[in-house]
Structures are given as C-alpha cells and as structure tokens.
Amino acid sequence: MNAILESSALVEQFKTRAEAVSAQVERVATKGQALDLIIRLLQQEGVEDKPHCYAVSAACPLWDQVDKNNLVAAVPGLKFAVTRELAADAKVGISQMEWALANTGTLVQSADEVDKRLVSTLPLLHIALVSTAALLPDLPAVLSRVDPRKAAYISFITGPSRTADIERVLTIGVHGPERLIIILVDDLEVAA
C-alpha cells in the first residue's frame, strides 16, 4: 500500500513539474492504450507519408510487445528506419526513455544509439514513452543507476527546447522540439 501511495505521489510530482516546463503528460494503464493514444496523436498532428510530415521512431522495447502493423496501417507516414535526413524532415519523433525524475519532471535515456537522439532533437514534436514504474525521485537516484562505463551518451530531457536569449523572453522551440508529450505507461516493463 505504501509503495502504491509513494508511486502515486511521484506521478503527481512528475506531472506537476513536467507541465511547469511546458511538457504535456498523459498516463495510460496498458500498452494497448498507449498504442491507441500514439495513433490518435499522430493522426491529429497530420502525419503523412510525405516530406515534412513523417513521424520517425527510434527502437522502443514497447514495439516488440505490441502489433506494430496496427500502427503503420493507421499512420502511413510513420517510419521505423531512422536516418538523419528522415529525422530532419519529420514532424514527430518517438522514443522510449529509461527513467523519469519526479522532482524536476525530467526524462532520462541511455542514448548511445544515435536514432534515439535524432528523433528527440530534430522534429518539432517529441513523443516520449516511459514506464510509470521507472519514475525515480531525483537526480542522485538516477546517477546511482546509470553506468557511464556502459553508456557513452546519457541524455536528460526536461521539457521542450527553450531560450531566453533575446530580452530574457522565454521562447519555446529553438534547436530541439517545440513540444514534448510524455506518455506514462503503467504496465510497461522498466527498460533498464
């Protein structure tokens, strides 16, 4: 019971903090629901099989557990073979993160595979999947779990890309995505 309470408090904190930095947070119970949500989002965004309209996805453990064909059938512009050209030309990027940090609303990913960085940096919208059970309280908690000897490139993402370099006016979307949608999936196994 305590563990459940604790976890729901973490979810609440994560949601508050991530939304405070302009991320959108969704939570679903099952992988199937996650899939439906992604399809709906991609359709809403007008993803199509033509330049500037693609969605690109890095390898996500979730894909191995669901029927990917449903996805491709519903969203023809969705590509699983990522290249830098495709990513640069895509509207949406999808990737799965290993951890999330409640007290800063941060996503953490071991991102040696370049695809993971391309899809979360080049498109205007990044959809990030993460297991609800992978929520950790804070920075020290994740630093004790990641191993820099095994991961050459570890990424922390907190909200969309931003700047305040002109007159200190906060502006979202500079070199990276201007929107970040985080989907917490309850029955997704912790990737790490």
Binding site: T104, G105, T158, T171
Partner: protein
C-alpha cells in the same frame, strides 16, 4: 581612473536598453531563484559543492591523469596542455588533417577565453556559434556581456537589425519569429558541419565523462551530427566522482536561470556511433591556463569552486546598471573580475576591481561558496603592493592614520563648512566638490564631536561598562546617534566609556587595498579599546563592528603581524553591534518598552555589513515591532544603497543611480519612518531623500529605541 574606462561606464549608464533589460531581469531573477531553491537546504548544498570542487582543485594533476586514462580506455582522445596556444594549434591541425571546412559550436567560455574562433577563421575555416545569444553577438561582431546570457544587452530591435544586415532582409522585431528564423538558418549548418566544438560544465575523472548543460538543444546537435566532436574543458571543471555530478547539476540551473533543470543535459563518456554507423571521433582537451597555479595560491584557490552560473552577476547592484562590457571581453561580473586577473593579467583587473561596492550580495548566493568580495579585496591589496597607491589616496591615509591630525582637520572642517551648511545639511558644494552634493545632501560636520559631547552626559556610575567605538560618522556627523546609545545602555545599568585613543576603524584603507595602513589602524584601536576592562565594546556602525570583530584580525594576518593577534581576538570577543546588545538586554529583562507609545508604520533598510556579515538583520525589526511599530517591507530591502564608503566618491556615476532606485523603493513602501542600523546608509539615504524633498524621517534604530525604552 583611466578615462576610457570612465567613458565605458558612462556609455553603459546612458544606454536605456541595457539598464532596462538588466534591471528587470535582476528583479525577476531574485524571485525566480528563491522559488527554484524552495525546499532545498542551500547552505548544505553549496557546502557539498565547495567540498567537491575544493578537493578536486587540490589534486588537479591526479584528476587530469585519471580522467585521461578513463576516457582513453573508451576510445576518446585526450589532449592535456597548460598553454592556450597549444589548444588552438591542436584544434586547427585536427581540422586541417580531417579536411574540415565548417564547424558548429555550442556555448563555451573556455573557447572565448583563448579566442579560438579568430584562430580558426584566420585559417579559412567557417566557425558557427549556435547558441542563439552567441550567434547574435557573433553576427554583430561583439563579445558576450554575460556568462550565461551573452546577448542580454541587446533589444529585439537591435537583434532584428543584425539579422537584417548580416543574414536576411525582412525580419521583424517579434521574438518568437526571430527565434524561429534562427532555428531555420542554423539547422542546415548543424547538418552540414564537419566538426562540432563544445565546452563542458563538469568533467568526471573516475569515468572520463563530460557533462554539458543547455536549454536550446544545440549541444546535443553539436555532439551528435558532425563526425568529430571536440570539447574544450578547463581544469576547474574536473571532479573526482560520478555521483558528485548531482549537487552541481542541482545548483547550476537554479542559480543560473532559476530553472529546476535545464532542458537538456548530456553526459558523454566515450564515442557513440555517428549517423552512418562509424564511431564518433571524440577529442577532449583539458586546458590548464593558470588553473593549477591558482590552485597553489592559498587565497585564490577558492575561486576554482566556481561552477559558472553567473549568479554573482545577477544579484550585483553594479552589474545591473553597467552590464558586462565594462568588465571586459570574456568573463564578467564579480567572479569575472577575479578570473580576468588570473587568465589575462593582474593588471587587466586594475580598473574593473574598482567597480565592486563590497555589498556582499554575491557571497550570499554563490553556489560554490566563494567569498568573491574578499577575493576582490585581495586583488586590490596585491595591486596596491605591485603598483603603489595613488597619490591622493596616500595623502588621505596619512591623515586618517594620524589620529591627532585627522581630528584637528575635522574640527577645522566643521568651521570651514559654515557657509554651506543649513539645518544640518550641506546641499551644495562649490565647483570641484559639487558632484558630492549633486544627488544627495551631505550632513554638516557637527559643531561638537561625540568625543566631546559624551563628557557632558551625566551617566550613572555602574560596575558594568561598555566601551563605545564611535567611528567617523557618529563622532563627527551624527553625535546624536552616540547619545542615543548612551541613553539606552544607561537605562540597563551599563555605563558607557569613550576610549580617547580610538581612531579610524581602517575600513577605508582596507577597502582600497592599503592593508598596512588598515593593520596599523587596527593595532591602535585594539590598544585603546582594551585599555580599560569593559564587558562590551559597542558600535552603532556595522562597518566598524565588522572591522573590530573580524577585519582587525584579517588585516594583521595579511601583513604578518602575528604578535598582535591574541589582543585582536580578545577584542573581537567583546564586540557587539548595538541592536544585538539591546535585544539581549530586553530578553534578560533589563530593558523594557514604554507602554502607550505613539507609534507608526516603519520600513527598514538592510545595511550590507549588518545583514550579510553580522547577520543581525532581523533583530531591529523584532525590537521595533515589540515597541509597537508596524513593519512595512520595501522592495529590495537588502539591496545596497550605493554608499559603499568611499565608493560614492570614486564612482559617483554608479552610486547615484543605485541610490535613486533605493529611494524609489523607500517611497513606494509608504511608511513615514525609515530605520537603518548604519550611519553611512543614513547619510546616503537621508541626503538623497532631502534632495527629493521627501518628508520621510530617517533614523538610526538606536535613536528610535532610545525613545521607546524605559
């Protein structure tokens, strides 16, 4: 003071864009920073950071070696050098060998420090800054004015003009559109670049990792898209353990931009694959450039605890008026003054160190726990040793140091001022002295100094005694403050003595770098104040109190007068500021507030030394509330009033607008009474309010306490 330097200050002050943008930011920053640190024990956090960084700077060589081994084991190429030229040659040679034509850079102060771009561009390589602020100033041909926000000195209109002139016509001064335009223009440059250059915020020795923090995402692209990534890292970024990233990464975004965490943090521990599947060619350059030398300096080693958050700029009352360009081309603000003295030359800090008003705001917020004001004083001291003091200053100190001559001159001045003084104020002085009274009236020098007046006060004979240290202002300008002190202490059954041998507290000499003079002032005072065995040594001036309690010891230590230290420590034990002693006496039941007092609202100005060195700021507030007064806090109550001792004479151009802002905040509070615990601030603020024709009454807390206690 050099005329070019004075002119650069005047130019900055007359730039409304600059003062407006920085002024607004400084207000938003204070609130934002406080919110970001909510629920965090900042003292504990910065103590941890200071320990991690201090331990690292004690072992730079070992850590650099450990870093090199760990990183090379993963396939990273590490180049270590103490020479900035070797860094530039290494990068250029690498670029030429690999046929690099274009380079994208994410923000790096270390590359600014060695002027890398110029070196590469001279060889015909295109170097593109990608941080928006850096790109703007690169296009405009300027240098960064702030370590975190390099283009904060420019308005959107100026940015638009730069884009129209240097990139593409037709841009409008609409910030989101300007940002989108930059995204569109820089994107192909990222995709086409042959090399990416970055700095790093942290370098971890045990794992050979670098940590890069950005908001825009440009460091991710710089380290991902080009096949070669070069990171230039100053030795001061080294830490030993991976887990120690946490405290630094917790503090850096909060202190820098009031964010809980930046949008992106990349921890790179080796070459990750490129987009074509080949491994990245990763070069990390560890650059010493005097950091090791600095780590061997017992005073300046502390400056290596800096995490480059620039919070010392953001809270500085001077920086927010003049911006960064007055400080120089690379590192700006408080820490920038120190870094410039080391990475450039001590002489290069000669002018800029004088900008520091010694308010101590930066010391309070520094996440590396660096005593920046103290280090700036140390620069002053070394400059004074190296170059000698200016003639006029020498003449002044020779007077201040000669007690009898000083007091004779003050008496003479009290007569000489007669034509200018009216109801206790001097509102105009002739000609060359006129700038002293341009923005505030000066107090008239008292006809009879406190040292003479106290002899006429009929005090009860008590066994408990307190020696009163007057200080120049109470003694010669505001003897009534001294009288208030005597009245209150007499009520508690304490007799007040005024040791005749007391002289200047030495603060003017110390703050000018003349430590020998300051130490002699201290020694004279120690002798005078310890002559009679009193229980307390009391001052109503926070600067004097700090001198008696701390600086005498520090000054004597600095000049090696160790034989005088035991007496200095004995004195320090007895020293108390007036409000703190009154509070103690009230708590002991020896002083009581009068019943049925006619009270009012009051607002309170925090004097720099009183709050940030003595930490006594809440005591007078509490006492006056006990007396029945209602406190109305003003905005920025603890922001310096611009007095800063002789600062107001050396840099009246800066002191005046600092004062104006203070006066506006005081008036906005709407209370008829302003209380202050420092006669220097009283002089500055009372004079400023008088010039504005304000009716607000300004008093030393001691004066109001004297009326409120029985």
């Amino acid at each position: 003071m050099n005329q070019d330097f004075k002119q650069s200050i005047l130019d900055a002050l007359s730039n409304p864009n600059l003062t407006g943008a920085l002024g607004n930011f400084s207000v938003a920053y204070r609130a934002g920073r406080a919110k970001a640190y909510e629920g965090i024990d900042f003292e504990a956090l910065r103590t941890q950071i200071a320990e991690v960084k201090s331990s690292a700077s004690s072992h730079f060589d070992e850590l650099a070696e450990q870093f090199t081994k760990a990183a090379e084991a993963r396939g990273t190429k590490v180049f270590r050098t103490s020479d900035p030229k070797a860094v530039k040659d290494y990068i250029l040679k690498l670029a030429q060998e690999r046929g690099v034509k274009s380079i994208v850079k994410s923000k790096s102060m270390a590359t600014e420090e060695i002027h890398l771009n110029k070196h590469l561009e001279k060889a015909g390589i295109e170097v593109q800054e990608t941080d928006l602020g850096e790109w703007i100033i690169q296009l405009a041909g300027q240098t960064p004015s702030h370590m975190v926000m390099p283009a904060i000195h420019m308005t959107k209109e100026e940015v638009t003009e730069v884009f129209n002139e240097k990139v593409e016509e037709g841009q409008k001064p609409d910030i989101p559109k300007l940002v989108k335009f930059a995204r569109g223009k820089l994107r192909p440059m990222f995709l086409n670049a042959d090399m990416g250059i970055s700095g790093a915020n942290i370098a971890v020795a045990e794992t050979g990792s670098i940590v890069i923090v950005t908001n825009e995402g440009n460091a991710r692209l710089v380290s991902t898209l080009p096949k070669i990534h070069v990171a230039l890292v100053g030795y001061e970024k080294l830490i030993e353990h991976f887990k120690d990233i946490a405290p630094i990464l917790t503090a850096l975004p909060k202190s820098a931009t009031a964010q809980l965490l930046t949008s992106y943090v990349s921890i790179i521990s080796g070459p990750a694959p490129n987009t074509d599947g080949t491994p990245k060619e990763l070069h990390i350059i560890l650059m010493d450039n005097r950091r090791t030398e600095m780590s061997h300096d017992p005073r300046f080693k502390e400056a290596l605890q800096c995490i480059r958050c620039a919070s010392c700029l953001n809270v500085c009352p001077v920086f927010r008026l003049v911006g960064g360009h007055v400080f120089g081309k690379v590192y700006t603000g408080g820490i920038g003054t120190i870094l410039t003295a080391w990475f450039d030359a001590l002489k290069a800090s000669d002018e800029i160190q004088s900008l520091c008003i010694q308010c101590g705001s930066c010391r309070d917020v520094c996440p590396g726990k660096i005593d920046i004001p103290e280090l700036i004083l140390e620069l002053r001291r070394r400059l004074a040793v190296e170059q000698g003091q200016p003639m006029i200053q020498k003449a002044i100190f020779s007077v201040v140091n000669n007690r009898t001559l000083f007091h004779t001159m003050m008496r003479a001045a009290s007569i000489g001022q007669k034509p200018f003084a009216k109801d206790g104020f001097i509102r105009h002085l002739p000609m060359f002295l006129s700038n002293m009274t341009e923005n505030r009236s000066l107090p008239a020098i008292a006809d009879e100094p406190f040292r003479d007046r106290i002899k006429k006060i009929k005090q009860p004979k008590c066994t408990e005694k307190a020696a009163f240290f007057g200080g120049c202002l109470v003694d010669f300008a505001y003897p009534e403050m001294g009288e208030a002190v005597v009245r209150v202490l007499n009520k508690a059954g304490i007799e007040v003595t005024f040791p005749e041998g007391q002289t200047c507290c030495g603060a003017p000499a110390r703050y000018s770098g003349a430590y020998e003079v300051a130490a002699q002032n201290g020694a004279d005072n120690i002798k005078a104040l310890l002559e009679e065995n009193v229980k307390y040594v009391i001052s109503a001036c926070p600067t004097c109190t700090v001198a008696l309690k701390q600086d005498f010891i520090a000054n004597l230590e600095a000049v090696g007068r160790t034989a005088d230290l035991p007496a200095a420590r004995q004195l320090a034990e007895k020293v108390m500021d007036f409000s703190t002693l009154v509070n103690q006496l009230v708590e002991e039941g020896r002083l009581h507030f009068k019943a049925g007092l006619e009270t009012s609202k009051f607002t309170y100005h925090d004097s720099c030394h009183f709050k940030r060195t003595l930490h006594a700021d809440q005591t007078p507030r509490k006492l006056m509330k006990q007396a029945g007064y209602e406190l109305v806090e003003m905005d920025e109550c603890d922001m310096c009033c611009g007095m800063g001792g002789s600062y107001t004479l050396k840099l009246p151009e800066i002191s005046a607008p600092i004062l104006q802002r203070k006066l506006v905040n005081i008036e906005k509070a709407g209370a008829p009474l302003l209380l202050i615990d420092c006669p220097g601030c009283v002089m500055q603020i009372r004079g400023g309010l008088d010039k504005r024709g304000s009716k607000i009454k300004v008093e030393h807390t001691a004066q109001r306490l004297a009326e409120s206690l029985e």
